[in-house]
């Protein structure tokens, strides 16, 4: 099993969610995130004073999948989240040792 984490542009969340549902991914965790990479932040002006906001708002989407599904999930996310402009985000996957469904106590792939 692997944990796939995607940092994407907030307005792309719906597209990515739909793309994942289309390939049979039935659950995910979404949280608001902020950070920066190559994309620069922006400047706000209050009473003539400039404030640089360098942390850009993003959405972090996490989903745990079976090893066999990793490539298709990565592809689906990238395809749905891509605009081709700077700041599109990153996707990565890491191995997951154990997973337990809290309700039933099931372990491993059954719990995904």
């Amino acid at each position: 099993m692997r944990l796939i984490t995607a940092i994407i542009k907030p307005f792309k969340l719906d597209d990515v969610k739909t793309a994942l549902e289309d390939i049979g991914i039935s659950g995910m965790t979404v949280s608001e995130a902020s950070g920066f990479g190559r994309q620069k932040g922006h400047t706000e002006v209050y009473r003539g004073a400039e404030y640089t906001v360098d942390l850009v708002p993003k959405v972090r989407l996490e989903v745990v999948v079976d090893d066999a599904d990793v490539e298709s999930v990565l592809d689906a996310i990238v395809k749905a989240a891509q605009t081709g402009r700077i700041g599109d985000g990153k996707v990565w996957s890491v191995p997951v040792e154990t997973i337990v469904r809290v309700r039933t106590g099931e372990r491993g792939v059954d719990a995904v």
Partner: protein
């Protein structure tokens, strides 16, 4: 001084108007609290708001005790004396302030109390995020006693029916309808002095300290504008043409100030901002405060536009001077207050107010301008110097600043053990443990 028999000559219309205006001015307390509270970061918004509210509590007590008497006791040129300490005898009297008004004195006492509350509360904006609450309370009491009450006496106390016991600036014919000197210049100069003694916030100006809620700031500014109608038009002390003119001028100057600041921003910074619009309206309202009962409506537009334009630039001075006068009490209230006071030297006319004077544009010569200038300089200087001394003494005795760690964590938690907003679902529902955890963390 009027006697109980004079109460028979109370005018219901005038009295109703003054009572309504008194309540209107009190709306400026939550208005200011919201405006200031919104302009600081979320971690210090409660402290900011409570500084204004506690000023209402403390000033009401001090006012009753002796400050009313010192301000309006008709005692002499420099102070009103203590003959009406504890508001002794006030409830059986009519109002005499240079001339006799058919309103109960206790109504006038309360109307003027609201002015004192707003003035001292305005100062808190200069020292946002970093002052010990107990030190602020001590400052409020000391400042109302030693700065507000005497200055109010100089300007607002016109003495008995024969003018005896009037303040020295009132005697000289100073034109200040609703407190350009007493309220605006007074609080602006004090804000600057207090900010100098308290010092900059940790990280200012390198670290961004931007306002946390513009919608709340606009609600606050709107309430201030609303209350300002009572502040200015109520200062006529009667429900008459003068009150109506003052109300019209208040509206027009606020409108002109709002537009002027937006235009400056559009041209200078490329975007008109909500904070700019709100600040411009307040600058215009400050500018018209001394002049609303002495000028024609077109002049109110000019004064408002001038105040809005100049203040849009003045609020940037603090960055050049490196003084963390956090919410621009100096940059808005003092600067626009000076503009309003001096503008009377040109724009005052006796067609609006027969008991006023004519400025330069109405053939009155330079006399008015001279008196206005004198009052501006004296009130600014007195307020700045005495506030500086008061702040130094309070700092020495009890310490004005909270410590650096508390300031960075947030003054709300440190001074009040509260937080303004709890929007996370993880924190709600475990209140007992939550606050207990905070307590041990703070101690």
């Amino acid at each position: 001084m009027e006697t109980v028999t004079e109460l028979m000559r109370i005018d219901a219309g005038d009295t109703s108007w003054l009572l309504v205006c008194t309540a209107l001015v009190f709306v400026m307390v939550p208005g200011l609290a919201l405006f200031y509270g919104a302009l600081v970061r979320a971690k210090s918004t409660l402290n900011m708001m409570l500084m204004t509210f506690v000023a209402a509590g403390l000033t009401a007590v001090v006012w009753t005790g002796y400050a009313w008497s010192v301000a309006f006791g008709h005692g002499g040129r420099l102070w009103g004396g203590v003959s009406q300490a504890g508001l002794s005898g006030v409830v059986t009297q009519g109002t005499t302030n240079g001339v006799t008004y058919p309103v109960p004195l206790i109504a006038f006492v309360m109307f003027q109390l609201m002015f004192a509350i707003i003035t001292v509360a305005l100062i808190s904006g200069a020292v946002a995020d970093r002052v010990r609450f107990s030190a602020w309370c001590a400052f409020v009491v000391a400042w109302v006693s030693l700065v507000y009450a005497p200055v109010a006496h100089w300007v607002f106390d016109f003495g008995g029916a024969d003018g005896s016991g009037a303040g020295w600036l009132a005697q000289r014919g100073l034109l200040d309808f609703a407190g350009g000197t007493v309220v605006e210049i007074n609080s602006g100069a004090a804000g600057l002095a207090l900010a100098l003694v308290v010092g900059r916030r940790v990280g200012w100006p390198q670290q961004p300290m931007k306002p946390h809620s513009m919608p709340l700031a606009l609600v606050g500014a709107g309430l201030l504008w609303f209350g300002w109608f009572g502040f200015n038009a109520g200062s006529a002390l009667q429900a008459n043409v003068l009150a109506a003119t003052a109300l019209a001028n208040t509206m027009l100057a606020g409108a002109a100030g709002l537009l002027a600041w937006l235009v400056v921003e559009r041209v200078r910074d490329s975007h008109p901002t909500t904070l700019g619009g709100a600040s411009g309206a307040i600058a215009g309202l400050v500018g018209i405060t001394p002049s609303c009962g002495f000028v024609e409506p077109w002049a109110a537009l000019v004064i408002g536009a001038l105040a809005g334009t100049v203040c849009a630039f003045a609020v940037r001075w603090k960055y050049r001077w490196r003084i963390d006068e956090s919410l621009d009490v100096f940059g808005v209230h003092l600067v626009a207050g000076v503009i309003g006071c001096l503008s009377l030297g040109f724009l005052a006319t006796t067609t609006v107010n027969a008991s006023g004077r004519n400025g330069l544009l109405y053939g009155g010569g330079t006399g008015v301008l001279g008196t206005q200038l004198l009052a501006v300089v004296v009130v600014l200087g007195y307020s700045f110097v005495i506030t500086l001394v008061l702040a130094k003494v309070i700092d020495g005795v009890m310490g004005l600043r909270i410590d650096t760690e508390a300031e960075v964590t947030g003054i709300d938690l440190d001074q009040h053990l509260e937080s303004a907003y709890d929007l996370s679902s993880a924190n709600s529902g475990v209140l007992g443990q939550h606050s207990a955890a905070h307590r041990s963390e703070v101690n």
